[in-house]
Symmetry: C2
C-alpha cells in the first residue's frame, strides 16, 4: 500500500469516529465509543497465533457523565489534530501531542500516559497503527549489527545498507516506522536480541556475529514497538530463530515476555509485535 | 596515536596511581590522592579558552579515616579492573563496572553515581579520558543528519558514510568514542543542535538540511559527552557555526549551557567538550 493510500485510510477512519458521534446525536443517542476492556482481566491466550490478545469484555464510554464527556471531548480534539496533520503531510511525536493539548482548555491531558493511552484506543477503534497517523515516540528504536542487508525507503529515496559493512560501531539504527524496511538478503543462522548496550557492544567486539552467523539486535531494555516488530519480521519472513539474551534477573523475564508474548497495552497488535517462537537464554520457570 | 599506544599510556598511568601509594607506604606516609575540588565553588571561567574549568582548590583524600581508606580501596579495585580489561583488550560500560563491584565486598559501590564519579576522578588524575580505559556509557550518543561525509575507523575496518545519502531516516548514530571519527568533506553552512527528537525529525521531514545547508544534530535532551565532543569538533575543525535549538524553557537553557560552557562534573574536559561559540536560538538573559 502506498503512503498516500495509507494516509487516506487513516484519515477516513479517524473522521469516521466523529461522524458516528454526529449520527448518534442526530438519532437522539448520547454519543459513545466502545472498546475492548484493556486490563489484565481481559487478556486471553490465542492458541492459533500463540500470542495474548484482548478478550470479549467490552467497555462503553458514553457522554452520560461529565468525566466520560470530557474523555470524548479529548478524543475529538486528538482526531482533529491528527486529521490536520495528515492533510498537511506532517508528523509529530506522542510527546508533542501531549504538550500541544496544553492549549485545549478542558480537553487538556493531565499526563502523557493519558494521551498515549488515548492514541492506543484510536488504534484499536480504527484498526490502524499510530505510524499511519504520523505519530511516533520521542526516541527511535534500537540498533542492528550482523550479516543482514536491508533496504529502507526514506523520504529522500531508497537506501540499501549492509548491517556490518555499511554501518559504524553503533550499528544500523532501527527507524520508527519499520514498514519502510525490507530485508534484502542475509547470511545469518539466528537472531540474538540483547537487553543491555554493554553486552551488545561486547558481542560485536568479540566478533560473535561473524563467528556464529548472528544478527545482533540491541533491545535497549524494554524494547520499543519498532524493535519488537523487526524481531517478529526477522523470525517470520526470514525464518530465523530468535533468542533473547538478558541480564537473567526477574525484570529480564519481563523483557523476554514482551518480545515473546506481547504486552497488555499493545495486545491489539500482538500478532504484529510478538514473536512466540523467541527463546529465552537462561533458566526458565 | 594508535590504539595500542593509547592503551599503554592508560594502563601505565592507572598503575602509576597504585605505585605511588606503594611508595608512600614504603616511605612511611599514609597513602593519599590529591584532586581539584569538584564543586561549584571551584569552577572558574578561563578567559583564554572561554570555558569553565576547575580552579586551584584541591582536596586530599588520605587513608587516615576509615571512610577515606575505603575510598582508596575502591579506587584500587577499579584500577585493577581497568588494568585487566586493557590487558585483555576488552571493554565494558559504566553500568557493568558498578554491578561488577557488587562482588568486591567492602569496595562495593553504593550507587552508580558513586562509581561514575570515581571514574571521573581517575580521568583527572591520569589526564586520560575514560574511553582510553575502554569504559563507555550504556547508551551511545545521538544522531547526525546533513550534508557531511564522515569516516569512522571501526574494529571491522574503515567505513565512509554520507550523513544524508548513506543513512536511513534515523540518521547516522554517533559512536561512543568519537576520536575514531574524521570529517571527510561537507557542504554545510552551519550546524543546528536540536533538543528533541520531534523537532529533529520535523526539520528532516521539511528538508531543512538541504534548503539551508544545515547539519542536524539530535541532542537527545541533555547531550552525552560524545555528542558534545562532535559539536565542538564540527565547530573547531570545519569552522562551522553551531546553533542550539531547544524547547525554549528554563531547562533548555541548561542544555544550551552544557553545550556552550561545559558542566561541573566534566570541567576537567571543558576544552574538549564545550563549544563557547555556540549560539542559543531564542531569548537570552
Amino acid at each position: 500500500m502506498s503512503r498516500e493510500e495509507m494516509d487516506a485510510i487513516a484519515k477516513g477512519r479517524l473522521v469516521g469516529i466523529a461522524r458516528e458521534w454526529y449520527e448518534q446525536m442526530r438519532d437522539g443517542i448520547v454519543p459513545f465509543v466502545r472498546l475492548p476492556t484493556r486490563t489484565k482481566q481481559n487478556i486471553e491466550y490465542d492458541d492459533e497465533s500463540e500470542v495474548w490478545k484482548y478478550g470479549d469484555k467490552e467497555s462503553t464510554r458514553a457522554a452520560t457523565t461529565e468525566k466520560s464527556a470530557v474523555h470524548l471531548l479529548k478524543m475529538a480534539y486528538v482526531i482533529g489534530f491528527l486529521k490536520q496533520q495528515l492533510v498537511e503531510n506532517r508528523s509529530s511525536t506522542l510527546r508533542e501531542l501531549y504538550y500541544i493539548s496544553e492549549g485545549w482548555r478542558r480537553a487538556k491531558f493531565s499526563a502523557q500516559d493519558e494521551s498515549n493511552l488515548l492514541v492506543e484506543d484510536l488504534e484499536i477503534i480504527t484498526d490502524v497503527q499510530r505510524e499511519a497517523f504520523h505519530l511516533r515516540p520521542e526516541e527511535d528504536g534500537a540498533s542492528i549489527f550482523g550479516p543482514l542487508r536491508i533496504r529502507e525507503t526514506t523520504r529522500r529515496g531508497v537506501r540499501e545498507m549492509h548491517c556490518q559493512e555499511d554501518v559504524g560501531e553503533a550499528g544500523y539504527p532501527i527507524p520508527n516506522n519499520v514498514d519502510t524496511l525490507d530485508f534484502v538478503d542475509h547470511d545469518a543462522k539466528f537472531v540474538i536480541a540483547i537487553e543491555t548496550g554493554g553486552m551488545y557492544a561486547r558481542l560485536m567486539e568479540n566478533g560473535f556475529d561473524e563467528e556464529y552467523g548472528a544478527i545482533l539486535v540491541h533491545l535497549k531494555g524494554q524494547p520499543a514497538r519498532s524493535t519488537r516488530r523487526v524481531l517478529r519480521r526477522l523470525n517470520d519472513s526470514l525464518d530465523l530463530p530468535v533468542v533473547v539474551f538478558t541480564d537473567g534477573d526477574p525484570w529480564s523475564y519481563r523483557i523476554y515476555a514482551s518480545v515473546a508474548y506481547g504486552s497488555i497495552k499493545s495486545a491489539h497488535m500482538s500478532e504484529l509485535l510478538a514473536t512466540p517462537q523467541a527463546q529465552f537464554v537462561g533458566v526458565q520457570p
